[in-house]
Amino acid sequence: MKEFTVILYAGGNNRLSTDLSIPKALLPIGNRPLIWFSLEIIQSHPSLASSPLLILTSGQYRQILDDYLSTLNITYELIVYRQHHESTSDDQQQIQDELGTLDILRSCYSRIRTESICLISCDLFGKVNLTSLINMFRVRDASLSMLLIKTIIPSTTGKETIIQPGQKIKFTTEPEFYTVDQSTNRVTSIRLKADLDEYLPLRQNILAKYPRTIIRTDLVDAHLYLIKKSCLDIAIRSDYSSFRKEFLPKMIRQMAIDQPLEDLISTPANRTTMIRQQTTDLDDNADLSRLLEEYDCDNQEIRGGCYYSTDETQIFRVKHVLSYLEANRQASSLILSYTNEDITFKERLEQIQISSDCIIGDGHDIGKKTTIRRTIIGKNCRIEDKCKIINCVLLDNVHVKEGVTLQNSIICSRSTIGSKCEIQNSIICSNQQIEGNSKLNGETISAINHESEVYMVYDDEQ
């Protein structure tokens, strides 16, 4: 019997390149798709690596994801969920109607056969030390262990101020208040700022149990959970749609005040089915000891362990332009640490200056007197003579013509930059043609040009 089932959420739309053929999970970072990094995180711990892996994705990306994953040496199971309640063509409506994590989980719940579940989303990027998290989960017999990470503005550039490429979009991250007991790393309450007015309430009965707690405002959820199936049972049977925003805070509150989690199942009908479910389990399952453990989980004090990483390699979620750029910059060292494979560009070409922190994909064609620094260049890119590319990310099949200066920009696949352009702090979406001698600074060029869509902001809600 395996301990964990790993559920990797690989849904989410990619809004970087306007062609929807690439899902977010396959968004290249250092010329490797984002999901590769998540899979590496899972593989980094033996007990997760050997666990059954369920990858959740939406119907439209199933094939392309399957194509990619089959090239890797892993066993997995792809599960397709319905992405929207109704397949609407209206883009604006979609955001409202999108399914929450729990809705998605419900669709694959029958596949879970293990006692514990590891939920992970594919946009987690960085070197995650899972050992301590899993150890804590086991030692404390926790119902839930979650990874919390520090909210950091990603920066490796030191004193250089980071300018966000593209149209100026303000990312308002919603503060969350995690009340943690420092000595045991236990989370005693989670509050979203959106749910509060002016004050953060502290309940007396929680204070009485955990007299010395620290309210952390500098942490965010990494969307990596280890959870007991017994808790998830309740989550699945509840009416909540979102795991993180709705169910989790309530579950932690119930645990902190020693109330049964069953209270979260709102309708009595559901509760009775729950009980029936348990009794039928008893009939079906001959393995009594395992069953008792399950019962234990429900009745005993259920603990939610909390762990936050202060590793040197920063961990963050790739969810907006800045973090995407940052991830690209760190990709080479991270890949090196995972696979011992140095992917930085080593070839030395004549009359071309390429600094050692660059990654350049196969099939490159780089013209003479070109300078490339701190840049990631995808496959089959063509860069003509006398270009200057600093601090950029170029996806596949980009054609940069003669004498172009690119700085702090993202050029998406199959775009062409006309000669002698000067582009700073901009995003060029895929299949765009930029005419020669253009000067762009802090702009976003996309097919649907004047639409004020929030680029690169993936649905946080999973």
């Binding site: 004050y199 502290l202 309940r203 007396q204 204070l207 952390r216 405002t217």
Partner: protein, 820 residues
Amino acid sequence: MVKPTNINSDYREEERLTCVLVLDTFNNYTNEIVSHTSLPLCLWPVDGRPLLDYTIHTLIRSGIQEIILLATSYSYEIRSYIMNSHWLQTYPKLIRFIPCKEARSLGDCLKDLEQENIINNHFILLYGNGTLITNEKLNNLFNIHKENIKKDKNCIMTLVYRQLDSNHFEHPSYTDDQHLCIIRDANTYRLYDYSTEYLDRYEISLDLLEKPNVTIETLYCPLDCHVAVCSPDVLHLFKDNFDYSTINEFVKGIVRDEEIAGHTIYSYLYETGYFLSVHNLRLYMKATFDILRRWSYPLVPEIIASMHKQQLSTITNPTLPQIKLNDSYLSFYNICYPIIYDKHNIYKQGDIQLDRLSNIQQDVFIGYKSQILSGVCLRSSLIGQSCIIGKNTKIENSIIWNHVQIGENCIIKNSIICDNVVIRNNVQIDKECILCKNVIIGTNVHLNQHMTIIASNSITSTNVVDEIEIDEDISAPLKNVKRSNSKQRSSSTMSSEKSVSEKSISLSIEETITSNSDLVGIDGFGRQLSFISTHDDQTKPIEHTDDDDDDINDNDKSQLNAFDAWGYRIEPIENRDLSHDDEDNEIKPKQYRLSNLKKPSDQPSDIQSEDENSEIDDSEDPSSETGSINETNDVSEFQQEVIRTLERAYRQKLHMENIIVELNMLKPTYDVSPTEFDRSIVRAVFLLPFEKKISNSETTNYWNSLKLTMDQITQFILKNYMKITNEQSQISLLNGLDSICLKHIQPIGERIVNILNYLYENDVIDEQWILQWYENKQKKIENNELIIKPEEKIYYDKLKQFVEWLQNAESEDDDQDDED
């Protein structure tokens, strides 16, 4: 142990480490019980030494060079103990004693200290009861405080706590009165919010959470060490803000006004070490047993005893004490016997008689010359000196003071038994009982838990001595400090005791207490202590809160009394009826109060003392329903307040308008009805000349002083409230005057002619109302509704004389008018 020579020489004068001990809990319940034991809580014995000794030892270990004792009600005892102890001889400059007899709160004490003008450096303040037992060295706190000041120059105070385990509600060191919720910075330990209230939820403003560089930490119910390291400014703040009467109010005020005044408060949390601030009886018992179990090492009995012996032997001149120690209960502290420490934490002090067949289990202290007879079973207990424990008696977790006789086959659990108590055979005493001095418990009596048995009135002879002697010895601090206790209710026993004249004290000494034989048995002596006064204090603010917001102040004050002597929270009245067995302790006193009033045997003493205490006693009728007691008390208090206001107005020659405004303000505060208000005004006006400060001034004659006050203010007061055109108020004025005259025939009644004449001449009363009123009165007399007592005759004669004169004058006037 630091050698005495180091203490006064090594440091420069300005860097003396000072510690201020406030030796009072300011809890009425505790003080009430303490008053029946004739020892202040800080001198209660803990393993052969007074509690205070352990604190002083702690402080000397910490290198404190100056200890300032602030004592309130028991300044005589504390002073005489200090004078006679070896402390003064071994460390002559160490201890300084400041009596604060008038102080009703910590704030008052600190104001007195400020007056003394001796603090100009940082100091450690031990509040609570000033008795902290710890094995940590406190001098480190000065450095912590200085570090805080270095980082934040606005820091004026560092509060000290000790972390408890997570299940602190069950922690034995936690008592309800330490309930506290602290919001502080996790890195700098700066205090941001502070609440002692018991709420379901506490709130932190999001602004605070989102401040940069601030990480909020919550600290719920840490062990309050009652230690604060203070900057000298703290005293000035206490002086300037006389509404700060407790540390809680102070901290709340500072935190609230942080943006205005810019002061900040920091906190320090000990994570190790033994700390116990003894400020209620439960903690007193815990301290005793903790010391027996050697948690407080090196502060354990045999080490302390050996140190005392050394120090006593080094004293060259034993005839030093100036005050003769005539109190036997204090003198035993001065003789020091060696203590033998045996295995299982058994301590034997000097010669004891221990029967071979007795069973001394563990954690037991047996005092000098005590006799333990056969079959006695002792466990976790302290037996004082010269006690006799009878055969087959079981004592568990109890503290027995000196000269106690316990009979055979008794069972005593978790109780405190004070000096000279006699317990006869087959007595069972359940937990948390206190038997105060001289109580006798009869045979076969079973005392339920949480009983307080007393055998004396709280007004003891020592207090009188206290009043006289100390005044002569030490010049009392200047009295021009504005005290918040001017509004202090005279109803509480402790304060009324102070407010009555010495004559009445000496009267009440002689009265003997009525024993309640139902409770303590036929051959017993003693009765249960009832908290009439304090309970009334308790009920009042609750009634008020429904009406108006002006009573916030009162509520704050009543918080002092929200906990009983054991440190339990006293539930609000409403809940009391619903609560059951588990809250027996809180119900008991209340119930007993009701039954107490019904019992005729108890009544006389109560009434008598009440009568002595109150100058206007017609409203005080204890036999009336309990429900009205609050009301009448309120009114009489209100009247006291009116009298005080008028007296002040008279002496300071205040403006008429101001006085009226002030009086009007009093009306909502005390929640009196308009008629009561009028009546009180009338009474106050005519009783004003009795006030000491007025009558003493120039003339001792009632009439003269009345005239003086009338001339200056009171006639205008009457004119303002009793409009000459309003029949009702005029009649009520006359009725009021009438009843006062009847009560005080001697100075007032016989002067009725002058009074009425004065009022008439100054147009306070119109003649027609006088005549009308007199007519009604006459009718009543004729109908025998009103019986004239012989001693009242003089009043009626005078009255008649005046009325006749008035009628004549009227006709004369008429005549004159006619002539004109």
